[in-house]
């Protein structure tokens, strides 16, 4: 190829490149902006509750109990010490207490169930999406709080479960949850609160600072309470926790002892 032809080719390529570059702004201007996905827009307006949270006063030590010891008194609201019990329900609870203690002494559970999971040692994760918020702990207590506008199933199609049926709505940064159909007594050995399966639970949860969420909790139950039973809970963020390690119960060494009244630790399998 002659030098003249080579030069002409280079000029042609330069001209083509200049043409393409000249067209680029026009091409860019002609590209319509991507439409905003309404779901993304909704998601962007929801609060950020990432992280792992433990109910205030319920931080477990290496023993699995608080550092005060395994039987130290704890303020657990769902005990209902201050609940507005109807007189007949109060009498029933007093009569039941010895049997409840005996059952708890040798009982085992696979989690907390609702609502006890909302004030337990187990850290909680609140996973927010536009359609639902998942609340879960490492015992695999999982609540699906539907925020897509649906109602509870009609009464004939609703049956009690340990976690109940929850629907929710956002009012600004506050999640309002309504729960019903909570199985009582729980199939999990934790028996509180001692209300009926027709009780209605309302939570108003919001994040008040980087490390704290607060919840206003109300339980209504015409069968056992004289009026609404209300109290506040708080959740403290755990910066050292970056995951939930779920319970598989693969090494459950706790069993009822020979006398059948207490639990004991069986030797390791080797």
């Amino acid at each position: 190829m002659s030098r003249v032809a080579s030069r002409a080719g280079a000029i042609t390529r330069l001209a083509m490149l200049a043409g393409v570059l000249a067209l680029l702004p026009a091409c860019t201007q002609r590209t319509p902006p991507a439409p905003t996905d309404p779901r993304v827009d909704t998601f962007s307006k929801l609060p950020d509750w990432r992280g792992y949270w433990i109910a205030e006063g319920m931080l477990a030590d290496i023993s699995g109990y608080t550092a005060d010891g395994p039987t130290a008194p704890m303020r657990m609201e769902f005990q209902g010490a201050d609940a507005p019990w109807k007189p007949e329900q109060r009498a029933k609870i007093l009569a039941m207490a010895p049997a409840m203690i005996a059952a708890a002494n040798k009982g085992k559970a696979t989690g907390w169930g609702y609502p006890m999971m909302m004030q337990s040692f187990a850290p909680l994760q609140f996973l927010i999406t536009p359609e639902e918020t998942l609340i879960m702990n490492f015992y695999r207590d999982v609540r699906h709080v539907y925020t897509d506008g649906r109602a509870h199933p009609k009464p004939d199609d609703l049956w009690p479960t340990p976690w109940g049926d929850s629907i929710g709505r956002w009012e600004g940064d506050t999640l309002i949850i309504e729960t019903t159909a909570v199985q009582r007594p729980g199939i999990l050995f934790v028996p509180f609160p001692l209300v009926s399966e027709n009780a209605r639970y309302t939570e108003r949860i919001r994040r008040v600072s980087a490390d704290r969420m607060e919840s206003e909790f109300t339980i209504e139950d015409a069968e056992t309470l004289t009026g609404p039973w209300s109290f506040k809970l708080a959740y403290v963020r755990q910066p050292a926790l970056d995951r939930l390690i779920h319970e598989a119960f693969e090494n459950d060494r706790v069993e009822v002892d020979d006398e059948g009244e207490l639990l004991t630790i069986k030797p390791p399998q080797r």
Partner: protein, 126 residues
Amino acid sequence: MGARTPVRAIGTLLLLVTAALAQGHHSAAMFDDSQRVTLTGTVREFQWSNPHCYVQLVVQPAKGPAQEWSLEMGAPNYLYNLGWRPSTLKAGEQVTVKIAPLRKGKAGGLLLELTKADGRHFGGKR
């Protein structure tokens, strides 16, 4: 006054029930929380497992054969939140522990505090 007595009674009874409850797995009634036993021994095994972690501790008494203790701890997630990992404790380590012993006198209990040979201390009020 008459109305307040049942309120106190129900509160006391419900507290007793709570004291019998546990971390979501079992009751603490199996441990004698009024007693504290201090043991020094060699870790035979650290079980990082659900629903509880366990330390198998071999203790040599002044007289008689060595005895292996089964010491219960919280679930891995509780320990993880406190900075523990499966590698935190290794077989062969010398440790001193404070426990709430089993009520029935077997060689076991709830591990409340642990001190390593290098002086690092875990558990209890800080």
